[in-house]
Symmetry: C2
Subunit: 419 residues, 2 copies
């Protein structure tokens, strides 16, 4: 039921091959044309956006978060509903993450400004440990002890537990349990965490195989269908250290995963080489997912160096604060100058917001905290990034990737990046 | 461009005529089949609901609030956008209120629990004045001094100013400036306020005629269309005192308004007689709008006694708190028992929420404060009340109003009301 087939490899004009590719990934809920952007609905709903709006904007895949859904409504509720597809009314391909990102966001990053994407200046502070005192997540060999975002109660995730939860949630693709490290962690800690992640990968894969075998022929009470198979992706870690990335990709690549995620900390400067290093080690005929990355520049760098899938909450999160993508870069539609601007966010954008509403209306709604403002800005941003990744795919098929990249990035970022 | 034609008068089996009727009201943006429920979008947007969702649920008319839009984005912005229709993307009939309700909600009611719909027990406390110390609204002969909900700054509405703002907003139907009184006001105050409202009605009508004459042939800069005519509705006041209601309706009925609103304070017990008393005095061939009323029982009582239009924020406000209408009464879908209820809010409801989602999903979203939860519950409640008023209209056409009323109210309210 899962099949990844490459349609076209990325080449430049001189005929040099790159790791990038346009492909098709068959899943039990439809075929994903990759590269593709994956829309995130943390709690089994995209904030302010219906599944019909997602389909209208060309969304192909939906990713929900295991840590959040375990806390509410609980995987047993989602399972009893017939799984995530039935629960959320999204009938296309779905993914869940493993909870491992929260080892970072509720751990080293908790209560700080540290982002998994650091700059060179801030990223390499090699003094702090990955564990900090006010942490909401504690890592041990057996797993991670989280605190609930709702009531602070303790939750213990092991690799086995994460697999069991994700099997119950029932997404098509799901991830092995991993530890996402901080860009501020020492190299010694990055190695320690990576090696533990590899041991967890083995435990995740064993539990996955046991659960897949067990469910063969099982009929779902609500849908009356046999529960379809699920695919497990391993997660490459190693931080900003290329030799660790290489080791991690080689180790996991030798294991029997259906696909791979690239997780953890990067800096903007070394993201490209880190991805290329990892992808060179990974099996070619399996999909590669870049976890939690969603800036326009990242799509180009990621795809050029071998990535097929990207998920990120940034498009909807920034939209709720009024920040919207345009081909000339980001702008804040809440700014006073847009109060009387009766043109769309982008004149030639075909999204629902741009074809029906003006900046003035969206500016008014966001300033007045009307829910519809967040909806319209989110729809625009999701359409923008979904279409951008689709356009990058098309540029590979048309053998125009490098021209498109230079043209887009120059217009979006000005002279920030050189070619 | 405005034409009200009665299609069927309400009769009972014995051939006795009532004031109720099924009618059609032609407006420059389409014909409204009355009785009809009017969807409220206070700030030119229904909270969490798109205009496409409104159309899907059968909404015919959209009402926005003058006080709120004057503060943000300001009527000059809406006018420059091409008017409320263009601004909000709603191309059907639209209304604005006058701001007079805020004389109550920001005046006598401000910081209290007093509702314009009181019960006999709480409603007739005849000791308090309409003006209280912590008021955000101060009434004088010339108009009302409000405070802005945004920054507390002073805003002065006169009848002329309210007309000018509403003409700039550009709804099809709008209301004369009035003072909505508290059910706790003394009879002496109710008379004083009513007589002032009548003087304001005359000033509103004069200003309306001046503005309508002035705009003939004026081309809108954005739409390039001639600005269509607008209809002005007078507002009957008089509180719970039938002789005042009668006097108010007779006074305003003799004036050249295009339609009438019934505003101000009632108790549940005297609403029926207050409406019947007012409607008996009003011209038969003009539409009658019940301001800010939206409980199922109110629709039946209002329609039976001559009302054609109803607007209310209750369906969306209660939805955001999880309270949803069912034919067996209200229920709170956030309650723990619905966490694992995988059936729709109502099995036979054809709204978007009920045809696609379970109580369990909506319960999860509302508990997790996901915007989509408020959207789905709001869509259901708006569909419910819109369809209920449509069904009441059909029951008049089918000569089955009284049977339908008894059946519906018995199922919804149990034995609370007798027939």
């Amino acid at each position: 039921m899962f099949n990844f087939s490459i349609k076209k490899r990325l080449e430049n004009k001189d005929g040099n091959e790159f790791l990038g590719r346009a492909a098709e990934y068959e899943t039990p809920h439809g075929t994903i044309k990759t590269p593709a952007f994956v829309t995130v609905g943390t709690k089994a709903a995209v904030k302010g956006v219906t599944v019909e709006m997602m389909k209208d904007m060309g969304a192909q895949v939906f990713l929900a978060n295991t840590y959040h859904l375990h806390i509410a409504p609980g995987e047993e509720v989602v399972k009893a509903a017939g799984g995530l597809h039935k629960f959320s009314n999204w009938d296309g391909p779905m993914m869940t993450d493993s909870g491992g990102f929260q080892a970072f966001s509720l751990g080293a990053a908790f209560g700080t400004n540290v982002s998994k994407i650091a700059t060179k200046d801030s990223g390499y502070v090699q003094e702090k440990k990955n564990q900090v005192t006010n942490s909401m997540a504690k890592v041990t060999e057996d797993g991670v002890e989280f605190r609930s975002y709702k009531d602070g109660s303790k939750i213990f995730f092991t690799p086995e537990k994460s697999m069991q939860i994700q099997q119950a949630l029932g997404a098509d693709m799901y991830f092995a349990f991993d530890e996402c490290t901080s860009p501020q962690a020492t190299e010694a800690y990055q190695r320690e965490a990576m090696e533990r992640t590899h041991r967890w990968a083995k435990r995740s894969l064993d539990e996955h195989k046991r659960l897949e075998k067990k469910k063969v022929g099982l009929i779902n009470k609500i849908t009356k269908n046999v529960r379809p198979p699920q695919a497990l992706f391993g997660v490459v870690q190693g931080g900003q250290h290329l030799h660790l990335r290489k080791e991690s990709a080689a180790t996991l690549g030798a294991m029997d995963f259906d696909g791979y995620g690239i997780g953890g900390a990067f800096t903007k400067e070394d993201m490209k080489t880190a991805i290329a290093t990892a992808c060179a080690e990974l099996p070619e005929l399996k999909p590669r997912h870049m976890l939690g990355i969603g800036e326009p520049i990242d799509f180009f760098l990621g795809i050029e160096n071998g990535m097929d899938l990207f998920d990120c909450v940034a498009p909807t999160r920034m939209a709720r604060h009024g920040s919207v993508h345009t081909k000339s870069g980001k702008m804040n539609v809440k700014n006073a100058q847009y109060r009387t601007d009766f043109t769309p966010i982008e004149d030639d954008c075909l999204c629902y917001a741009c074809t029906n509403y003006t900046k003035a209306y969206i500016c008014h709604l966001l300033r007045e905290k009307e829910m519809l403002g967040a909806t319209l800005a989110s729809v625009h941003n999701l359409y923008f990034v979904t279409k951008l990744v689709d356009d990058i795919r098309q540029s590979i098929l048309d053998e125009k990737f490098f021209e498109f990249k230079e043209e887009f990035i120059t217009k979006y970022y000005g002279d920030k990046y050189s070619f």
